[in-house]
Symmetry: C2
Subunit: 243 residues, 2 copies
């Protein structure tokens, strides 16, 4: 991991961009805490620049709560090289949605499964690097989408102690099986009127998770309309489980 | 309304039993607040004595948050005279459940609809009496089950400003229609593994509510297994809307 830039934000948060091999990432830490901080990995649908304002909001909440927060770019997104098969799947998905057709499982698998295969080891590599920093301790939480990535990561990575998953993306059938392997405390956010989201699939996935403590917070509104109090509730969930 | 007993609890909360005509009830107020307090009506499935420990927990939370809390007995429950038709419907329901049969809409209607018809005007009468007390102001929230009662009350009683509804009881078809008339902010609690509860009906009812702000908090566990953090989240909802 190599830090490429560093700036102190107006509220004292230290924001550092880094690269991990070819993967760009951002680390946010509180400027004021000296003890190693628990870490929250901020998941997102890809495109760090586009997602930056919302990621920063979540990072500010995390650092205010005493955590460090970090994210990395997804394969094929942002400044990373495009992946032809993913681009094709995304185009097929868009075409189906614009035509008002149901999105077939085959397209979802082609779009999401390779992303899960590639990105989960990358998040784990980032975790190795981040946890070696003196300012970061544990435990570790994962927060956000893509829900298939968060599910796989929570299932296979024992250093993830709790997860806030955002039910706002397509779910491959394989993810339902992996969900049964997840045992960490879960807090699932569902936007009830999410245009691009299959509500029933989200409810079925929530049902499938093996965790003994799991909570679903459904709120009225579309994909980007998560109300502020829902974000605060997710923050309280991490405060309960990571401190 | 006639107060029949008064005691100061160890944490300073003033607990007063009252009767409203033939209906027994309990009012809890903070011993320390002088300004008129907003009021939370505590709904329950009937049987004040049996429900008392849980009602008291909720009342303590309410008074700690600066509210007054009150409840009344349901028709046909507790110390109130039994209602033959309700007893018959309850027996039919029990028989169906013990036989592992689906509970027919006809039984649910016979059990719940008369309860709604009778109890909603009683809650409104209690509201008249309670709001005439100098120590109680507004706004007013309704919290708890029976969800068909809470739904009707929220639909027809303009003094109810927000409601926490507990999806843990059978829902007559008529309640889905009434739900569309509800416009106040709603916070719905659903126990995901509630033995006596139809999860899909609860989700459909949540979907039907006309409110622009509505949140569903689903937690793992059975009917009485609502986790403490879910109660705290409901309390924060009232703090947002009643103060």
């Amino acid at each position: 991991m190599r830090f490429t830039s560093e700036q102190r934000l107006d509220d004292g948060v230290l924001e550092r961009e880094f690269t991990l091999g070819d993967i760009p990432g951002i680390l946010w830490t509180s400027g004021t805490v000296s003890a190693p901080a628990p870490l929250i990995l901020l998941g997102h649908p890809g495109g760090l620049r586009r997602m930056y304002p919302r990621l920063l909001d979540r990072a500010r909440q995390s650092t205010a709560d005493g955590f460090a927060a970090a994210t990395i770019e997804l394969p094929g997104s942002g400044d990373r090289p495009r992946i032809a098969a993913t681009e094709q799947a995304r185009a097929d998905l868009r075409r189906a949605m614009e035509a008002g057709e149901p999105v077939g499982a085959e397209i979802v698998d082609r779009l999401v499964l390779p992303l899960v295969e590639t990105s989960v080891p990358e998040w784990q590599a980032a975790l190795n690097a981040l946890l070696s920093l003196p300012e970061i301790g544990g435990p570790v939480g994962y927060s956000g989408g893509v829900i298939a990535i968060g599910t796989r990561l929570a299932a296979v990575e024992p250093r993830i102690s709790a997860a806030v998953l955002f039910a706002g993306s397509f779910v491959p059938a394989a993810t339902f099986e992996e969900a049964r392997q997840v045992t960490v405390p879960l807090h699932v956010l569902l936007q009830w009127d999410d245009e691009g989201n299959d509500r029933q699939a989200a409810l079925d996935l929530f049902d499938a998770f093996g965790s003994r403590e799991k909570t679903l917070h459904a709120n009225l509104g579309g994909h980007t309309g998560v109300p502020p109090y829902a974000g605060e509730a997710a923050a309280r969930f991490f405060a309960r489980h990571l401190t």
